[in-house]
């Protein structure tokens, strides 16, 4: 956990530096019409760098004294989390092709059947009825168009 702590505070510092660089480009002093565009972000960036530097130093100190400490995740927790993260990212990626509702149907079916070990009937019923009813609610009743993707418009034509 402490190692993750160190990495995250380093990332925050990096972010702060990136922000400062752009603020300097925009001008972080007094411009023609008052504070320039980079004024506020400059101090934000500087603040993040300083605060996370202290977090980093503390974490390093503790790491030296007490070692890694508790793991970031309890053992065996990474797998179920990845089983959520990867399929849902895939759902978003497939959305670009076939639209949100169809890719969600695939996602629902996949997760329920493969990960959740739910019976075929329930899986099929839910992964067809849920996207269909949400499609009708959003796209038809409230007229909120959801992403159709490249081919979704051809696949869902009603």
């Amino acid at each position: 956990m402490r190692r993750a702590e160190i990495v995250v505070s380093l990332l925050f510092m990096l972010l702060g530096v990136i922000v400062i660089v752009d603020s300097v480009r925009l001008g972080f002093m007094w411009g023609r019409t008052g504070p320039a565009s980079g004024f506020f972000p400059f101090y934000l960036g500087a603040g993040v760098v300083i605060a996370s530097l202290i977090v980093l130093l503390k974490a390093v100190q503790q790491y030296r004294k007490q070692g890694e400490g508790k793991p970031l995740m309890p053992p065996g927790a990474l797998k179920p989390i990845l089983w959520v993260v990867i399929p849902s990212t895939a759902m978003v990626a497939i959305t670009e092709l076939v639209g949100l509702h169809i890719s969600a149907a695939l996602f629902l079916g996949f997760y329920m059947r493969v990960v959740g070990k739910i019976g075929w009937t329930t899986t099929l019923l839910i992964s067809i009825i849920a996207p269909l009813s949400l499609y009708i609610t959003f796209d038809k009743l409230f007229l909120i168009p959801l992403p159709a993707g490249l081919w979704g418009g051809y696949l869902l034509r009603f």
Partner: protein
């Protein structure tokens, strides 16, 4: 008395059939949101925003707030019956609620929780009704320097009194402000921190962030713990209701303490979650039989539940009078107001009095009605959790994706949602607070604008924040609270007392 007249006019709005229907639908949706882990108040409201936009303004905002009240009530059902908090603010309800339910009195535990919720809520709404107009009148005198000072006070409260690591809170707040600054500079129109990409030009929408941080982040945490549902079946009989009422009267201290702590925590941004923990801790300390706590003590249910709901309702006060939301859920509701072109702040009371009083009346109505709805149908709502997690979890992610996309009709937001989900998980694990980060993201543009205007007024001297008569005390309070983690140990050293 003027307030009472206004309130009556507000009730006139609420009693329109359409609005009444909205209230009931909102409450039921809210309770469902409250029961389901992974679908919380903040992202429940966020997902609905695209739908709400199609409604009239008053009805839309009422619907959003009903989700919050419903979720506040609903969160405790699963805490008590399943030992699974449906909402973070209901965690404290598991300490004594679950043992009591296990001990054979699930009905009584539920009734106690709902009664405490109702009492806390009503107290918060009373304060809202009578204090908010005064505060709004006062806030009319605020210029940019004062507005910025109030925001400083808000964020100082998170750092100094938030209970998390002050440094990490600072990092989280600044990170939120940085995300808010990405995109077009609101004053000069220049592009900032886009690094030549078109994707970053649109900036980060806080509703997307909320859906990711609270929705997906929460789901990852639940998955990690491996959700096992072992519930207690409950029925609420007349005897349970009478028993519960007797106990609420028998422990007035717990109720009053919880309500007051909740009110304070909701007003001073903090929100329902820390309020419930604080109330539990204080009541336990003050109780004569502290050993009973954790084994099903009635006071241990009453205090945190009253605090959570009082914090929820009183978080409305700073939101509607100052434009500063007291909790993440309130921030999303405020986002809803702004979509309707209703800029929260002191002018709202002048320009849209009908809306303000309709909204306040709906808070009365919703919290009272919510009590009866939840009391009558608690067992039915509890049965939702008997549906397998592997079924409703992907459904929640699907609905979250719809919400994230529909905010701006941008596909990139759905990717951001997943990123924010992972970020939320990491934040939780490493103890970086999420709530102040969300508030910083919401208030970023306003804070920056106020600061820059104030500096222009002061000809570039930051002394402008310390010389104006209204700004000075607020700023001074902000600085003291900010350094409170450093001051408190010093004070106890000087006076030789334990802080």
């Amino acid at each position: 008395m003027e307030d009472l007249n206004n309130l009556m006019i507000g009730f006139g709005v609420v009693f329109q059939p359409y609005n009444l229907m909205i209230i009931v639908v909102g409450l039921i949706l809210g309770i469902i949101v409250g029961v389901l882990p992974g679908l919380g108040g903040a992202n429940g409201v966020a997902i609905l925003i695209p739908i709400v936009v199609t409604m009239p303004a008053t009805a839309g905002v009422i619907l959003l707030s009903m989700i919050y009240w419903g979720a506040l009530y609903g969160g405790s059902i699963t805490s008590i019956l399943f030992n699974i908090p449906g909402e973070p603010w209901a965690v404290a309800a598991t300490f004594d609620g679950y043992p009591m339910a296990k001990g054979g009195k699930p009905g009584k535990a539920l009734v106690l929780a709902f009664l405490a919720h109702g009492a806390g809520a009503i107290f918060g709404v009373v304060v809202l009704t009578f204090f908010a107009p005064i505060l709004a009148e006062f806030a009319l005198k605020f210029g940019p320097a004062e507005v910025f000072a109030v925001m400083m006070l808000t964020f100082s409260a998170f750092v100094g009194l938030g209970g998390k690591s002050p440094l990490k809170t600072v990092v989280a707040i600044l990170f939120g402000f940085i995300l808010a600054a990405v995109g077009m500079d609101i004053v000069s129109g220049q592009l900032r921190m886009t690094y030549g990409t078109i994707v970053l030009m649109g900036g980060f929408n806080f509703i997307v962030a909320v859906i990711g941080l609270f929705g997906l982040g929460e789901i990852f945490l639940t998955v990690e713990e491996g959700l096992k549902v072992e519930g207690i079946k409950a029925r609420i009989g007349l005897k349970d209701i009478l028993d519960g009422m007797k106990d609420v009267i028998r422990y007035p201290k717990a109720l009053i303490m919880g309500t007051l702590i909740g009110c304070w925590m909701g007003f001073k941004p903090g929100g329902a979650t820390p309020a419930s923990f604080m109330a539990y801790g204080f009541t336990k300390q003050a109780s004569a039989n502290a050993a009973e706590f954790g084994t099903g003590a009635p006071a241990g249910i009453i205090a945190p539940e009253a605090a959570a709901h009082a914090a929820g309702t009183s978080a409305t006060i700073p939101m509607i009078t100052l434009g500063i939301p007291g909790s993440p859920t309130m921030a999303v509701i405020m986002g809803g107001l702004m979509i309707f072109g209703l800029q929260p702040g002191p002018m709202l009371f002048k320009e849209h009095a009908d809306f303000v009083w309709g909204f306040i009346a709906s808070c009365w109505m919703g919290n009272v009605l919510g009590f009866f709805v939840v009391l009558a149908f608690a067992p039915i709502f509890a049965s939702i959790l008997r549906v397998k997690f592997a079924i409703f979890m992907p459904l929640i992610i699907y609905v979250c994706a719809i919400g994230a996309y529909a905010v701006n009709n941008r596909m990139i937001d759905v990717y951001y949602m997943i990123l924010f989900g992972v970020l939320g998980y990491l934040f939780k694990k490493l103890d970086y607070p999420i709530a102040p980060m969300v508030l910083a993201l919401v208030l970023g543009d306003m804070a920056e604008q106020a600061m820059r205007q104030a500096l222009i007024i002061g000809h570039g001297s930051p002394l402008v924040f310390f010389t104006l008569p209204l700004a000075l005390p607020i700023m001074a309070a902000a600085i003291i609270i900010f350094f409170w983690p450093v001051i408190a140990p010093l004070k106890s050293k000087l006076f030789g007392k334990k802080a």
